[in-house]
């Protein structure tokens, strides 16, 4: 691992100030991606600004019809939160399937979203639940946040502080995982909110997480799994790598989406 300066901060403002001041610096959230990446020499920041000491980022705030999850909440925090399990069961279920138990004790929602790995789970929940990403400067709708592989709408020096999820009792996440890495080969988040169905797909898209709008429209007309039967995904838009071919991923999306809808109707 390269040498770097480790900076501890106790406020969002202090973190942002350092992030802007120090060239090639990076924030450190749970470190479950960043540290392994640095060990492999794939990333070599000059300084790490540790967010672990900012207690306000670890809060889960209950609002009337929404829950705001602090950026530094771990996957275990989300999976075990009774409010999230009650009001947004799909989100808690998704968090409980990320990585393994030890990773869930350290990895954070803010880190996962900021990294936007094409096979990460949380981006699917954000899109599938029409979430709002909160930063130190503004609120960004999930629909405009995820821009491509490892790319987001975050500006240089902008920090995620939390994610607001509106309640969605009818929501679930099904994942076909790579048995070695536990990342999604395909992950399908399905939610039925006030504005209708949302279907978000991770692990499979050539440009990262995406909404399967044809499926949403079909379900808004006929909310049975059979409504998805005639749909075809474009194989050209699927990831195609050593883990799975594009046509296999397209097939898996449909199978998992049908299962998820069936599960929600039960």
């Amino acid at each position: 691992m390269n040498r770097f300066d480790f900076k501890r901060v106790d406020s969002v403002q202090a973190a942002v100030t350092l992030l802007c001041e120090i060239e090639d610096s990076s924030v450190l959230a749970g470190g479950q991606t960043l540290i392994p990446t640095m060990k492999q020499g794939l990333s070599a920041p000059a300084a790490l600004i540790d967010l672990g000491g900012i207690s306000e980022l670890r809060e889960i705030r209950i609002e009337e019809d929404a829950i705001v999850v602090g950026a530094m909440c771990t996957h275990a925090d989300v999976a075990n939160s009774s409010s999230i399990r009650q009001h947004i069961p799909g989100l808690a279920h998704l968090a409980g399937q990320i990585g393994d138990a030890q990773v869930r004790n350290r990895g954070t929602i803010g880190g996962s979203i900021a990294n936007n790995d094409p096979a990460a789970d949380y981006p699917a929940a954000c899109l599938g639940l029409d979430a709002t990403i909160l930063t130190d400067k503004r609120a960004i709708a999930a629909d405009s946040f995820f821009l491509g592989l490892f790319e987001t709408a975050l500006d240089e020096g902008e920090l995620i502080t939390g994610v607001r999820f509106r309640h969605c009792r009818r929501s679930t996440y099904l994942k076909f995982r790579n048995p070695a890495s536990r990342f999604a080969i395909v992950g399908v988040f399905v939610g039925r909110g006030k504005e209708g169905w949302r279907v978000a797909i991770t692990g499979a898209g050539r440009d990262g997480v995406f909404r399967w709008r044809a499926a949403e429209e079909a379900l808004n007309g006929d909310c049975r799994p059979q409504a998805l039967e005639p749909l075809r995904l474009s194989i050209e838009e699927m990831l195609d790598d050593i883990h799975a071919k594009g046509d296999y991923r397209a097939h898996l999306i449909k199978v998992l989406a049908c299962d998820a809808v069936e599960k929600l109707l039960r």
Binding site: M1, N2, R3, F4, D5, F6, R8, L28, G31, Q32, I35, P36, K39, Q40, L48, D50, G52, A76, G99, D100, A101, Q102, V103, N105, R106, A180, S181, R182
Partner: protein, 156 residues
Amino acid sequence: MTRVTIYINGETVDEEVEDRTLLVDFLRVNRRLTGTHVGCDTSQCGACVVHVDGEAVKSCAMLAVQCEGRDVRTIEGLTDGEALHAMQKAFHECHALQCGFCTPGMIMSAVDMVRRHGAELDETTIRHELEGNICRCTGYENIVKAIRQGSREMQR
């Protein structure tokens, strides 16, 4: 370099460390606590699992400086003195190891599992929870058996 104060197995440790030092290297090299192992370089094998403030973490994916003011427990600190912890005893009795390399991580994960799920662990829960710990000898049968036994013993 950064000065850190970490409580390791009940002892206060106050030391200067290079910022890039991984917790696992700090434990093994600086503190000579070599019961925590390194089995992979990709944070997948779980041989390096220790508890930080009571929660199981992979010490190869955490920096020593992140443990400032925290309580770290390793396999060496699971019990006072010579007597084995109930989970260690169960691994011994169930023959839940062959080469033993993964065992410290398995036991630390198992103890955390009991903390979160209680004494009556069923096989499905144990197998799901063991996803982050790899054993290349036993085929897991006896490990699962040992964790069931150990979890019951821990509550006595």
